[in-house]
Symmetry: C2
Subunit: 241 residues, 2 copies
DNA sequence: CCTTGTCGCAATGTATACATAAACCCGTCG
DNA sequence: CGACGGGTTTATGTATACATTGCGACAAGG
């Protein structure tokens, strides 16, 4: 058979992550090795390996002696994850300001900032959502890498990978478009302020802005939950920051 | 043979962690499944399982396609880990102040604080080091649990488990005793201030104190490294906060 | 002498059989 | 009728054989 037989683990990781993020597997669900192995038509070993990696990522948790469970993220947990992400991003920004940065990385940040600027546009109708989400994610990633501390970078990455801590897409309906565009403008001004503060080596200010910035994500979370009340978990992934 | 055959994984985890913390395994070292399996006289499976768990803890890192490596902690990383711990502890304290706490947990914190008080004593000669370390660790643990956010608690626990981020013992020589006692007094006043700030629901102040508090750990790190220059990694575990 | 291709080894990836422990079911006894 | 106990079932823990890949050594050719 032509099967690769070498990427079973990756496949399992991918598939499990997809199911969790989609809401097919909801929090608290126990995962059974044998069942998954049969379902994916692989052996228990790569399944275990995959679950182990997802536990590392924070999507699963070990239930000692009882395999793994899907980690549950209630509304409050999502809010906390956003809070945490803001705190860590703030720390990263402060450290960058305090300790300095590599010029190349700063250039990258500034370039992305400029592209982000373009994609927002001045009128609600002109927003290029697709680019916006792409550049926004890139901006935050590059911002994190600006700080020289690998320890902080690592934890920040972890925090960002927590479900919905780093929402990636939300297409507002006609009615919401205006509000939404406004929040993009605010976010963008925070992005600019953040970079300026770091350049001016004002660590405390940079940190404060980063934390403030996280509140936009939180507000949008509330907005969506109120508006699309019956939404499936999947739609939680459709937030913007 | 009487072997339990059921706790092989735990044994392997324990042994590996011990070696890493002792400095027998230094950063960057690659771990080989077969070698370890033979050495511990168990099969590869529990060894893999153990390495996987230690990766989750942050002590090892996956080298894709090449097993695991001992995560390396240079001096700067240790400093960063302390910084990170301070930030997260500050966040936990702030959230506790902002969102409230369970009365039972607060009682526990206050009781531990009182016992900590006793073990410091008023004179350098009277310090009961053993109790001090015990109660200090307990105090910080209970403080973390005060905040209702599981997400933050979890990351805080992770940060504390990073090598040397949460130093546990340091017995000063005669010459350093006085300085050391002084730092304990400062630390203790911070502990008190932290609890007071939370009780007064002053989140920002609590956060600031927690961060300041972490600096004591950092200063002691520097102190030891300067004093006992040739010390093995093991002695890094002998810091105080 | 340097370059390049191939072969072989060593290490991890995968499958699977077997061991063990805990949950469950059911029957019996109080 | 409920609670306890033993057997059965089920899921994870462990051992081990086999597959596959990546790297290095060695040889052949430029």
């Amino acid at each position: 058979m032509a099967t690769t037989t070498q990427n079973q683990t990756k496949r399992a990781v991918f598939e499990l992550r997809r199911r969790i993020m989609n809401g097919e597997l909801t929090g608290g669900t126990r995962l059974y090795e044998v069942a998954l192995a049969e379902e994916l038509d692989i052996s228990r070993t790569p399944v275990r390996e995959a679950m182990s990696r997802l536990a590392e990522e924070g999507l699963l948790e070990r239930a000692s002696g009882r395999g793994f469970m899907v980690r549950s993220f209630a509304y409050n947990d999502v809010v906390d994850a956003i809070e945490l992400r803001g705190v860590l991003e703030g720390t990263a920004a402060r450290l960058a300001a305090e300790r300095g940065w590599e010029e190349a990385r700063m250039s990258a940040v500034q370039e992305t900032l400029a592209q982000l600027e373009k994609s927002v546009g001045s009128q609600p109708e002109n927003v290029d959502f697709e680019s916006y989400y792409e550049f926004n994610a890139r901006f935050h990633d590059e911002l994190g890498m600006l700080c020289s501390s690998e320890v902080v970078q690592r934890e920040l990455d972890r925090a960002k990978s927590l479900p919905f801590a780093s929402p990636s897409a939300f297409l507002p309906d006609q009615r919401a478009l205006r509000d939404f565009h406004l929040s993009l403008i605010v976010a963008q001004s925070q992005h600019r302020g953040l970079v300026e503060a770091i350049l001016a080596r004002q660590g405390a200010r940079a940190e404060a802005i980063a934390r403030e910035h996280a509140m936009i994500a939180r507000r949008n979370l509330e907005y969506i939950l109120r508006d699309a009340a019956g939404a499936k978990p999947a739609s939680l992934a459709l937030l913007v920051e």
